[in-house]
Amino acid sequence: MLTADQKKELEATIQQFVGKPIGPAATSRDAVNEAMILQWCDAMGDTNPVYQDRAVAEKSVHGGIVAPPMMLDAWTMQGWDMHKGYDEPTNEEQRLHKILTDAGYTGVLGTNTEQEFDRYLRIGDEVTAETIIEGISEEKATGAGIGYFITTKTTFSDAAGAQVGWMNFRVLKFIPKEAPQAASDSGGGAAEAYVPARIKPPMGHDNAWWWNEVAAGRITVQRCKGCQQLRHPPRPMCPGCRSMEWDSIEISGRGTLHTFTVIHYPQFPGYEFPICAALVDLEEGVRMVSDVMDCKPEDLKIGMKLKAYIHEDDDGFKLPLFRPSE
């Protein structure tokens, strides 16, 4: 960790970069050409004829072959030399990054970018990029760790010096929360990516039995042994007669939609969005919270008939869900 004085000195040093060009303007090695456009279209699966079919392009609003607009900053990318890494900075942006890296802000993460296109590029255009360090934020606490947001602005111009577009790019240069750990090599096969799964419900003394029943293929509700009243979700005492003696019955799975809400945001990993979250009136007379599957949000109708089934996630977790029924 830096002392307060060291941090002050670091911030004074990095703020000196603001407003500076990262280096001399860079002109694309290759003029805009069909071969590179086609290679781009192959990789992106882009079949837009204005990028690749002269006859169609000539009749289009563009009047001829144009480069995909999103390709703007590809023309002036450094290319092959990028594989060497940036241990030895070759421009002011890399020098700024290295100062932060050496101070412990080793992580770097692209967070935002914005582009405006004054015109599409045409075959033969020579693109020149000029980049300045537009701004450096105060130190921020983020999900990735504490760090500084660095914004660069690149202006792209043609051979005549006219602007064809610009781009802002923001990265977070940060202290990683924990040291990155290399994933183990799985022997040449595809590495197994960690796939987030549904958040599991808490399972304790009073409700684990209910989930165990689901795992065994039965959807149940609790029944009071004293007065036979059904209750759900599971809890230790009957709200009717206060008996703590209980058993359970398996439900038919038939019910009707009491009410619902459709969840679009926030989109937690491990779920399919939107989620049709439902409160279901079971025909046994109690309600159950679940999701309605195989149903578009606009087709949800209060009172519609639903049928429960047991769904199994990829990780083996089972839970009751509902779908519309006749």
């Binding site: 699966g45 590809a74 890494g85 914005e114 090599d185």
Partner: protein, 135 residues
């Protein structure tokens, strides 16, 4: 490829979904097609040294898919004027990148489309793309 006209578009219209079954070829091919030779986009050992399980899609490729998604819908006579992109988690081989979009605004001149790309990690990209469609 059909062409959408400005008049035919209404705010709230959903664009057809696009699912990209991400492969190492798409990741490496997209990186090299955008002249991005940073090793983490084509060399698995380099990506693993950075703490990721595999190579991951570079930003230009993500942008390329966002652009393609919008012009797949709008047709060849659309003119893309600008894009704003917020980046989320990485997109890796094996991930299905689900791209969805909605027309979010319309002025006399332009149409704005909100695009979201999600994968098993959650949000990979959120973008707003501004296009001019033929009148």
């Amino acid at each position: 490829m059909t062409t959408r006209t400005h008049a035919s578009v209404e705010v709230g219209e959903e664009l057809p979904p696009l699912d990209i079954e991400t492969t190492a070829t798409i990741v490496a091919g997209g990186a090299l097609a955008s002249r991005d030779y940073t090793p983490v986009h084509h060399d698995r050992a380099a990506a693993q040294a950075q703490g990721l399980p595999d190579i991951f899609m570079n930003i230009l490729t993500t942008k390329g898919f966002v652009g393609r998604y919008v012009t797949d819908w709008s047709g060849p006579d659309a003119v893309v004027k600008g894009v704003k992109i917020k980046l989320g988690g990485p997109n890796l081989p094996g991930h299905t990148l689900k791209i969805r979009g909605t027309v979010s605004a319309k002025t006399d001149a332009e149409v704005e489309i909100d695009v979201a790309g999600t994968n098993p990690y959650g949000a990979h990209v959120n973008a707003t793309v501004r296009v001019v469609l033929p009148q």
